[in-house]
Symmetry: C2
Subunit: 331 residues, 2 copies
Amino acid sequence: MIARQQEYFGGKRVLVTGGLGFIGSNLARRLVQFGADVTLVDNLNPNYGGNLFNIAEFADDVTVNVSDVCDHHSMKHLIQGQDFLFNLAGQTSHMDSMRDPETDLEINCKAQLSILEACRNFNPGIRIVFASTRQMYGKPDYLPVDEKHLLRPVDVNGINKMAGEWYHILYNNVYGIRACALRLTNTIGPRMRIKDARQTFLGIWVRLLLEGKPFEVWGGEQLRDFNYVEDAVDAFLVAATHDEAYGKAFNLGAAPPIELIDTAKLLVEAAGEGEFVIKQFPAERKKIDIGDYYSDYSFIRDTLGWEPQTALKDALGQTIDYYRKNLQHYL
Amino acid sequence: MIARQQEYFGGKRVLVTGGLGFIGSNLARRLVQFGADVTLVDNLNPNYGGNLFNIAEFADDVTVNVSDVCDHHSMKHLIQGQDFLFNLAGQTSHMDSMRDPETDLEINCKAQLSILEACRNFNPGIRIVFASTRQMYGKPDYLPVDEKHLLRPVDVNGINKMAGEWYHILYNNVYGIRACALRLTNTIGPRMRIKDARQTFLGIWVRLLLEGKPFEVWGGEQLRDFNYVEDAVDAFLVAATHDEAYGKAFNLGAAPPIELIDTAKLLVEAAGEGEFVIKQFPAERKKIDIGDYYSDYSFIRDTLGWEPQTALKDALGQTIDYYRKNLQHYL
């Protein structure tokens, strides 16, 4: 598979929106290894995941363009001549989407339409993989959740991401702009935002643990699944290089699911230090809590041959190692 | 049921967005009969359904406020003090949404969020019924389509209306702003737009028939269901007056479904004149055609007691009568 990807991406022009963020930068790192000509777009909004340190190791091998995907003039320019677009720019904080729904709409809907219109008008041959989210399923009717599950988002972010995903599928189906979507579950690993819980609650756990403070586990019994970021990157690369992917939305996921409290224990074990406290769910979060969630990822496994390779304990260990070395760049 | 509605709406303050449009004006007429204090908001955009003639019979009994629901300052003012909001303003043309997706987003998403934020901040006790659409189901997996069917919209309008509907359900669930949605199927009757097919293909059929020209039936074998506008109005009133409705989205619909070609024949029969030609589906429409569609409306029937009362032939007859008298006001 790696040889195939090398062949696919070597010398290809690749645009990554949200390219200085968590998954974008890990993806960029891999694309650089494959010899792709990589441009990263990111607005470096301090509330999002963009961080120049994420690409410090390979900054000379990529082009960084600091701009907002909502800026349709710059996107129109940047999209031209690209072979692939990995479309990862997005507002991901559920609470921010409730406090400021209009900004969430700008990024997760309006900017997506404007990107797709730019592709349609100026680069219809491009191939797009869109970073979607399991958040749009809401509170599951059944587990594991497959792609036939109704979409019933429980926050503004989930609604807008749902619309953003559908624009991609629509432009594929109506205009033949090859596009597909990956519905990410909890993704963890080096380069994630750990300053706060905006990107993932595991970020703030890691930070507090490394600062020698107890971290908070809300609830504790909820089941979740986690993908290591390298596995998520694999999924983006696999989706981009398979024609069968286009027009479809695929769940990512990992088995077996794990309770939050056991995840916390595993983190402490992987770190060889740390402690946590169990807290009641805060009232404002409780309303949009979804209970247990884990994905059925057999559709992408059977269609594209992807499945996660990294055990959670290893993922947590790699993550802790990374932030032990680089903590000061993420605070 | 009528006595109950009279009691509910008599003396109540009711805001209707899209109130000069097809369904909005028919609803306003009924509310005026019930003695409600009715304000109609409409921007009179010539591409939409607003038409001052629609309220000519009862213009003195309502307050008309010509403004755009995208204008959040005016909406913030208008929403205050209202007991009910019938939220019918929307862009409904599928082709327009593909030609200009951003405008569709402004109306069907951004304005909806801004209306709901205004309710949350300035009138959380309001009750809202949102006009949604069966368009968001896309091409059915099975028939009749019930509310458990996956939402898979096939145009930008369907995607944005889906988001707009979900904002309402979300604000109900999270903030307790009582809101529900009706997923309308093809609605026909007096006061519909007949200038073109922007609102319903049946509009342009009626116009051409009354102008003595043959109308075009695209395809012909597709099954559809039609609600007479008075039945749709009943559904809005019933939904507003039942607490069980809030937080839910209900299909409207009618049985039995009918092929387009038989609908055309029935229209000619009801009119006692007219002719039509069968045409191949135009290529750009074919891509977003959904084949057969008809609803399962048992959820609203069993929950709220609504079902359509008007036979299609009678609906077509009433429609033709109205436009024979008033054609010049709709061209």
